[in-house]
Amino acid sequence: MSKYYLFQDVKKCIGCHTCEVQCKSNKDLPSGPRPCQIIQVGPNLVNGLPRASFIFMPCFHCEHPWCVSACPTGAMQQRHTDGIVFVDKDLCVGCKACISACPWGAPQWNQESGKVEKCDYCKDRIDQGLKPACVTTCTTRCLKFGKVKEMTEIKRKRYAQHIASPENSAF
């Protein structure tokens, strides 16, 4: 697992796809590949009202990535300093083995270059102390990027608030 975590606050997300646009324009991608993608779930009727949720799907940067094992050329790599899984374009020959191997559908096919594209948490930006492209333009600020530890705090706090809220309160 990478030492970073990209947290999406599903409650806040309105499915505007700005993250996707920003991601592709940052990587200068043609139509087709989507290193991060908003998956719409729903709408389903909840208490008689239609509700949809939008799930942000980047790469999870697995601890033991299947794509890295599948790659015959060594193009797909895991950065040992922080665990980011990325593809070295110069080594990629376009066999698509990583695409077939990934259980999450993270590696994407770039028809124009004949190579694979993949979310690498914008490692070049991170190395400069910046945030990944998707995070920077999120309209509702539902995307948050940081060390794994910091990110878990949000969920914990929210859970605490949830328990303490009047409806759920034991008081």
Binding site: S69, A70, P72, C95, P103, Q108
Partner: protein, 722 residues
């Protein structure tokens, strides 16, 4: 930057380098640079139109406005000025002879052809049975496809890449078949002609160079008159090449096609004698094309040669014609004098003309014919096939034989005095030299001796062109890019320029001269660089299984039976059947599409670790045998080869439930596809998925995945596991 690179490619590299290195800070300059780059890339991949160069010129001007140029503008401007012809040539010919512009790199056969015929295109058309269309493509560069299909020396086949697998494609003969078929069906047509422009060109000599120039000039709207001293058209085609190799009808029909364009032929008219330069100029001829050939034979320089020259006896069956030169001999026979030269004939020389004279002598009824050559069989300049045919017919050879004296009894020739030779290597030369062996003199009995030791240009009558310069070899001096002589408005090509050479060189020269004459009339400066062959189109490759591509073999040429061959002038080669022709055309590897860079092989072997592509013919570093059939044994159809092919020669496609890998139409592998259980998207063949699974098995064993899903469905599923 590397000066040897194609200037178009070099400029693209330079400009992309400038753009990516952030040297161009100003937004406007950046935009202009990107626009120029786009236009250059279109020139480099064959998608450009006529206006591309002028558009680039205009864009370059923007560098110099306002803030001044940082160097990029002046660099581009100088390249566009100095290398303009190459840029123009990319647009006009679709051919990058330096092979740097990948999409435009030509096939070796086309580059080898002195007339630059688009060979892969016409082979494909013949393979599809489109003979008339093939002839139309050939005639854009060569107006005599039928003649060349029978007698060309086929430099193209020397370069044929298929020879690295088995034998070269029979490029030469396929032309003859297509021409014959098209002619017989009435589909052998002239292309549309431009209306007459009122300008007159005089062509001197109706040989291949003259015919070729007349054809292209007539198409361009010029009024052409051909002055020919012989009573027949064709020049050496008619009076040099014997009828058993090239039937007269073939020449007549193709000349008739040229005549039907309005070209006027004046036979039995010798320039300088029957008609003068003055008279022609007065008639309004403004340009002259000298295609007078090389019709004079070198003398042997032996005692007795002059004395016995042409001394024919009253009854040639009793004794021979004495000493005669091969050009004269073959001409006499071609023009209908079919008297036997003698009973025992000795021919001196080792080239194709010597073989022609020998085989012609046999057909006239001589008892024995011997070719005396100073060196050995392996040094003979004649075609190996021709030598073999001559041997089959009974021509004898006497190698390492130096003639020294013509023996005679005072009225007729009785023999040839010779001395044996041995070959020695001279310093600084690759060729072996014959030197006489002391005291090995002997006499070969003969009553006719035919000399075939080379020809030269007959300059009689050419004095009228006072400005024309001649080379030391006695040929006309021209600038080879435009075939213009040192006299303005006078052009020359063919044997008169090259010395005795090939039909196809003469045809190529004639075509270049026609283009140059057109430029001359339009006051356009002549090109500085030689014109590269034109690639007319990228014909779709013919699809066939790998086993077919490998098992098709070049057919044997069937020959007239040996008895009839020895005694008649019937065409010796009987040709191929239609089926043979279509199959032979399909053996072509389409080197106009696959430039044999070997990237696919490297990726499959070194990167993927599979090594399914056994293409030894394009892989000099790893000389393996070529076998297209072997690919399917190990190939997993991953498509990495296709994704990296710079010219879409090797492609992968999914069709009717299969994934198919093809190299220029040859189906290397086909595998059944598996589909996503959820959305029916393509997953790939089982062999490919197994390959991926085997690689990930040690990390993926915990997987509890049910069924097979595509990556899009997997993503959705992981977003919403319910």
């Amino acid at each position: 930057m590397d000066e040897a690179l194609c200037p178009v490619h070099r400029t693209i590299l330079y400009l992309s380098d400038q753009i990516s290195s952030d040297n161009l800070k100003e937004p406007k300059i950046r935009r202009v640079s990107e626009q120029i780059l786009k236009l250059l890339e279109e020139i480099s991949n064959g998608h450009a139109g006529k206006d591309h160069l002028s558009a680039i010129d205009e864009l370059i001007e923007e560098y110099f406005q306002e803030s001044g140029d940082s160097g990029v503008g002046s660099y581009l401007k100088s390249v566009l000025t100095n290398e303009r012809e190459t840029f123009q040539s990319h647009l006009e010919t679709g051919n990058c002879a330096a092979m740097d512009c990948i999409r435009l790199s030509p096939s070796p056969c086309q580059m080898a052809c002195p007339a630059g015929i688009d060979i892969p295109t016409y082979l494909s058309l013949i393979g599809e049975g489109k003979d008339a269309e093939a002839i139309e493509v050939i005639r854009r560069d060569n107006p005599l496809p039928w003649v060349c299909g029978l007698v060309c020396t086929r430099p193209c086949e020397m370069m044929c890449v298929r020879a690295r697998i088995d034998t070269p494609v029979s490029i030469k003969f396929l032309k003859a078949f297509a021409a014959e078929r098209a002619m017989s069906l009435g589909h052998y047509l002239n292309p549309p002609q431009k209306p007459l422009n009122g300008k007159k060109v005089c062509v001197i000599g109706a040989g291949p160079a003259g015919l070729s120039a007349s054809y292209y000039l007539a198409l361009m709207g010029y009024q052409v008159r051909v002055v020919e001293s012989l009573p027949v058209p064709g020049g050496m085609l008619m009076v040099g090449i014997p009828r058993y190799r090239l039937p007269r009808e073939v020449i007549d029909r193709e000349v008739a096609m040229i005549e039907s364009l309005g070209v006027e032929f004046c036979y039995n008219t010798r320039f300088g004698k029957d008609i003068t330069l003055e008279a022609l100029k007065q008639e309004g001829f403004e340009a002259f094309f000298l295609a007078i050939g090389a019709h004079k034979s070198h003398k042997l320089g032996l005692d007795g040669e002059e004395f016995y020259s042409g001394k024919a006896c009253v009854d040639p069956m009793k004794s021979g014609q004495g000493v005669i030169d091969s050009v004269e001999f073959l001409k006499q026979v071609a023009l209908g004098n079919r008297r036997v030269p003698g009973r025992r004939v000795v021919i001196i020389g080792g080239g194709n003309v010597a073989i022609d004279a020998a085989r012609t002598s046999l057909r006239l009824g001589v008892k024995s014919v011997t070719i005396a050559y100073r060196r050995t069989r392996s040094e003979m300049p004649a075609d190996v096939e021709e030598v073999e045919h001559a041997e089959e017919e009974g021509v004898e050879f006497s190698f390492l034989t130096i003639p020294t004296l013509i023996e005679g009894d005072g009225t007729k020739v009785t023999g040839l005095s010779c001395v044996r030779a041995e070959l020695i290597r001279k310093e600084g030369s690759d060729r072996l030299y014959p030197i006489p062996v002391e005291g090995s003199d002997y006499i070969m009995e003969a009553d006719a001796i035919i000399s075939a030791i080379g020809q030269f240009v007959d300059i009689d009558g050419m004095e009228a062109f006072t400005g024309v310069k001649w080379t030391r070899r006695g040929t006309i001096e021209v600038r080879h890019t435009c075939m213009e002589t040192s006299e303005h408005g006078v052009f020359a090509a063919g044997d008169a320029v090259t010395g005795p050479a090939t039909v196809i060189e003469a045809i190529g020269g004639g075509k270049r001269a026609a283009e140059a004459i057109d430029r001359y009339f339009n006051h356009i400066p002549q090109p500085r660089i030689p014109k590269v062959p034109v690639r007319y189109r990228r014909e779709k490759p013919i699809e066939m299984p790998a086993s077919t591509k490998m098992s098709l073999k070049r057919p044997e040429m069937s020959m007239l039976n040996i008895d009839r061959r020895r005694i008649t002038f019937q065409q010796a080669e009987l040709g191929y059947t239609e089926n043979m022709v279509r199959e032979e055309a399909r053996r072509c590897l389409r080197c106009d599409i696959c430039r044999r860079c070997g990237k696919c092989i490297d990726i499959c072997r070194d990167k993927m670790g599979i090594g399914a592509l056994k293409f030894g013919y394009m892989d000099f570093d790893h000389p393996v045998e070529t076998d297209f059939r072997k690919t399917s044994e190990t190939c997993i159809t991953c498509g990495a080869c296709a994704a990296n092919c710079p010219n879409e020669a090797i492609v992968i496609e999914e069709k009717s439930g299969e994934r198919i890998l093809k190299l220029c139409g040859t189906i290397l592998n086909r595998q059944k596809l598996l589909y996503c259980d959820s959305c029916n998207a393509v997953l790939g063949p089982a062999k490919y998925l197994d390959y991926v699974q085997n690689k990930t098995v040690h990390v993926a064993k915990a997987s509890n995945q049910k069924g097979r899903l595509c990556s899009a469905c997997l993503r959705k599923q992981s977003a919403f596991p319910g």
